[in-house]
């Protein structure tokens, strides 16, 4: 039930952006979207893949304009302060809300995942901003949030007020497909992604 409604919502967002084939009836679109499951945009909140064909594309087409976009992160910084994100997350270091400048992403760190967190809110205290803040602004805030932990942004910090010179989010930041060995792994013997056949 829950999955179904999530799928529907994604589908609606997808079709409303006019990114599906034009001129189809809605139920045809839905069937087409279901068949094309591996290419659907969406959010991976887990590194676990119950079955390969459940994987989603890593980059949401809606996110594409916000990669390598220096203006987006700067505007995102302004909005982050204007909407009181800074009240809980400070200049990235957190407080009432979690740290955003480390490498821990509770609900996923891809632009599309951050965006979804902003839209939906999260149960431990993150408010939901979908429908309250224009979507373009949410994407810009997402790109600023993603930027806070980029090496280039961290390197630009000169004092105890970080996040003031956000680097644009490179596409490569989200260039991966689900689980991979953690950083610093020197030996990896996990060669199979499938369970018992």
């Amino acid at each position: 039930m829950f999955l179904r409604s999530r799928t529907d919502r994604r589908f609606i967002a997808w079709s409303s952006l006019g990114l599906l084939l034009s001129s189809c009836h809605a139920h045809d679109d839905e069937r087409a979207a279901a068949r094309a499951a591996p290419e659907r945009p969406g959010v991976i909140t887990s590194a676990l893949l119950p079955a390969e064909d459940h994987s989603l594309v890593t980059k949401d087409p809606r996110a594409l304009p916000y990669y390598d976009n220096a203006a987006a992160v700067v505007e995102g910084m302004r909005l982050y302060k204007a909407y009181n994100c800074s009240g809980c997350h400070s200049n990235g270091g957190g407080g009432m809300g979690p740290n955003l400048m480390d490498d821990v992403w509770i609900y996923g760190g891809r632009l599309t995942q951050i965006h979804q967190t902003l839209v939906e809110g999260r149960p431990n205290g993150m408010p939901s901003w979908g429908g309250k803040v224009p979507d373009d602004q949410l994407w810009k805030i997402s790109s600023y949030v993603r930027s806070l932990s980029l090496p280039a942004t961290l390197a630009a910090n000169t004092d105890s007020t970080p996040g003031q010179h956000p680097a644009p989010v490179p596409k490569e930041a989200d260039d991966h497909n689900g689980w991979s060995p953690p950083p610093g792994t020197t030996n990896d013997y996990t060669t199979t992604t499938k369970g018992p056949q």
């Binding site: 302060k81 204007a82 909407y83 009181n84 009240g87 809980c88 400070s90 200049n91 990235g92 270091g93 957190g94 407080g95 009432m96 809300g97 979690p98 740290n99 400048m101 480390d102 490498d103 821990v104 992403w105 760190g109 891809r110 149960p123 431990n124 205290g125 993150m126 408010p127 932990s149 980029l150 090496p151 280039a152 961290l154 390197a155 910090n157 000169t158 004092d159 105890s160 007020t161 970080p162 996040g163 680097a167 490179p170 490569e172 930041a173 989200d174 260039d175 991966h176 991979s180 060995p181 953690p182 950083p183 610093g184």
Partner: protein, 644 residues
């Protein structure tokens, strides 16, 4: 990289890394790339000459009366000790004095742990254990689990536990960690508050709720963290949310049913504040109709704070409760010109009706987050050649106030730590003399404001010993840089509008002090510097010991007469709770405390907070970025006793 002074403190030298070598844009796989940039920067201490001395800004209406004996707890508010510890403050006078004297400076060296119990919650534990009828009751930080331990059996086994299951979203609107300041025992019930705004009375025999009353609304940022007071058949509760534009209030609930008896707001029209014909404030600045509206820009009082998340005292003789009011909101005071009544002050109220008797404002037009919710210790004290019925309040704005508790007149106000945000209290008008050089402006950093937002002392309570006549004050030595920012009110989000960076006050970088204060002579008798701010309370005993904990996990006993450390034990995590001392069912004296670092000052350890962002946790991280090197999150009950 900007050059910053690095303080080398005794055990931890903080290195500033060399300039970051060409930052690579090659990102490794999610979740993130290894960070090689600058680490946390420890700020330099504020220079000595930047704060006022006690002689410069301390004032009193009369010279000390030194020939009439010591101060005593208010008559009837501190009955003789029955060996239990049924309320966090120990008694209505809030002395936190135990009349047990089995443990003394001479034998305390043999003190040893006899009970430990994991609370199962690794967040800041600020509560006092409560002891009644051979049972100990503890409420944890969120999710506010209550435990009842049977002290009559070996190892104090669990009798029952109760899980109120507060809404998880309440964690996101708790300003400063998800702490709870404890419950209280009364008439077969353990009564406590939950982070999501409930007051719950649990039957102490069965562990089942007797009544549950919903008082707070997390959707507007309202939480409850304070410890309720039960007096005169009612339960008194106040709300938190001064950093989220929540309008402060205090309520009285019927102790038997939990039903609302009265509710008094701390801002707004007189009818809401329960100001009527009985209201007789001492100073003329507090007289006039609807000052809780008129001292604000239009409608700003509706989102102006003045919350009550600290301590309430009760005087049975004068049938009056005393409670403070929190900071004005937002922190950016330029958005709320005016005195912002009735924030940052103290009310005396009729406990039956809530009707206000008097009010005094410690910090009119609060520019520094100087909440006024600290404890008030009720004393009968020689002053001006006679015994005066006073309340003593070591305040967040840096002054120890002695106030006539019948009239609200300030008898003396003396700085007890680094102060330069004000230049004393005018005892004719009662008004704090603000230092304009330290008033923050929009978009500009005002440096070295003392004390810091968390005050010379925050919520963590002092104790008073009638044996020594001294007040044992756990305090901070911190100052801050502050910049005002424009902020929009968005319900359920922070309404702060300030960027703060805290730093050590004058000295060698020490950030805490235990002060033994003589209320009659208006000066410290001894002071014990501490590396970290003191965020635990103190308890003092007839055996002339003061117990307190440090944020790096030392639980110490000090000789109450001279400040000498006579015993200490390192606990599993830093200590920010309220130690107590009680007589066990076996007749022996015990000392109990919760470990579990956190709170506003300790969020850098217990919360998902990054030490590299000095502005994190409302600026406290700047002064605490080294704490993670000394302690980790925890949450354990420890009980100590002499071998017997």
């Amino acid at each position: 990289m900007k050059r910053r002074t690095v303080i080398a403190l005794a055990a931890g030298v903080i290195a500033v890394p060399a300039a970051v070598a060409g930052a690579s844009l090659i990102l490794r796989e999610m979740p993130g790339a290894e960070y090689t940039g600058p680490g946390p920067i420890m700020p330099a201490a504020v220079p000595d000459g930047k704060v006022y001395t006690r002689d410069q800004i301390g004032h009193a209406l009369a010279p000390p009366t030194t020939d009439m004996g010591l101060a005593k707890p208010a008559k009837g508010a501190a009955p003789s000790d029955d060996g239990e510890w049924t309320m966090p403050t120990k008694n209505f006078a809030a002395t936190r004095f135990s009349a047990l004297d089995e443990i003394t400076p001479a034998n305390v060296g043999r003190l040893q742990p006899v009970i430990t119990f994991s609370l199962g919650v690794n967040k800041g534990q600020e509560a006092a254990p409560i002891v009644a009828n051979g049972t100990m009751y503890i409420v944890t930080a969120y999710p506010n689990i209550v435990y009842a331990l049977d002290l009559t059996k070996p190892g104090a086994p669990l009798k029952w536990s109760y899980k109120p299951k507060p809404a998880p979203a309440s964690q996101g609107v708790a300003c400063c960690d998800v702490i709870n300041r404890g419950g209280t025992y009364h008439d077969g019930k353990y009564i406590f508050n939950t982070l999501d705004g409930q007051t719950i009375a649990v039957d102490t025999e069965t562990g089942k709720p007797v009544w549950k009353t919903k008082l707070g609304n997390i959707n507007i940022g309202e939480t409850i963290t304070m410890a309720p007071l039960v007096a005169d058949g009612r339960v008194y509760v106040g709300n938190s949310g001064g950093e989220l534009g929540v309008r402060g209030w205090v309520v009285a609930l019927d102790e038997k049913s939990g039903k609302l008896v009265w509710k008094a707001y701390n801002t707004g029209p007189d009818a809401d504040v329960l100001i009527g014909s009985d209201f007789k404030p001492f100073y003329s600045s507090d007289r006039g109709k609807d000052l809780g509206v008129k001292t604000w820009p239009a409608d700003a009082w509706k989102i102006g704070g003045g919350n009550m998340w600290g301590w309430i005292s009760y005087d049975p003789e004068f049938d009056t409760i005393y409670h403070g009011t929190g900071n004005a909101g937002p922190w950016n005071a330029e958005q709320r010109p005016g005195d912002n009544k009735w924030t940052t002050g103290i009310f005396a109220r009729d406990p039956a009706t809530g009707s206000a008797k008097w009010y005094y404002q410690f910090t009119p037009h609060d520019t520094d987050d100087y909440d006024a919710i600290n404890e008030q210790i009720l004393l009968d004290m020689p002053f001006g050649g006679r015994i005066r019925h006073v309340l003593l309040r070591p305040g967040r704005n840096g002054y120890i106030y002695v106030i006539d508790r019948q009239t609200g007149q300030v008898l003396s106000a003396d700085p007890f730590g680094p102060v330069n945000s004000s230049r004393g209290v005018n005892l004719k008008t009662g008004r704090l003399t603000v230092n304009p050089a330290k008033v923050a402006k929009l978009g500009r950093v005002t440096r070295d404001i003392c004390p810091t937002a968390s005050g010379v002392k925050d919520w963590n309570p002092s104790s008073f010993s009638p044996v020594t006549g001294l007040v044992y004050i756990p305090r901070e030595n911190l100052c801050m840089d502050w910049m005002n920012l424009e902020v929009n009110y968005i319900a359920g989000t922070p309404y702060v509008g300030a960027e703060v960076h805290m730093k050590p006050g004058p000295g060698d970088g020490h950030r805490g002090v235990l002060t033994a204060w003589d209320p009659i002579r208006r000066k410290p008798v001894w002071e014990l510097p501490e590396k970290f701010p003191l965020w635990s309370g103190t308890v003092t005993t007839k055996g002339n010991l003061v117990f307190y904990g440090t944020m790096d996990g030392w639980f110490r006993a000090v000789d109450a007469r001279n400040g000498k450390i006579v015993w200490q034990q390192k606990l599993d995590s830093g200590i920010i709770s309220q130690p107590i001392s009680y007589r066990g069912p076996d007749g022996h004296q015990y000392v109990a405390v919760l470990s579990g670092v956190g709170g506003w000052s300790g969020a850098v350890v217990s919360g998902p907070v990054d030490p590299r962002d000095g502005s994190a946790a409302l600026g406290f991280v700047n002064a605490m970025s080294d704490l993670p090197k000394y302690t980790t999150a925890g949450g354990t009950l420890y009980v100590f006793a002499l071998p017997h």
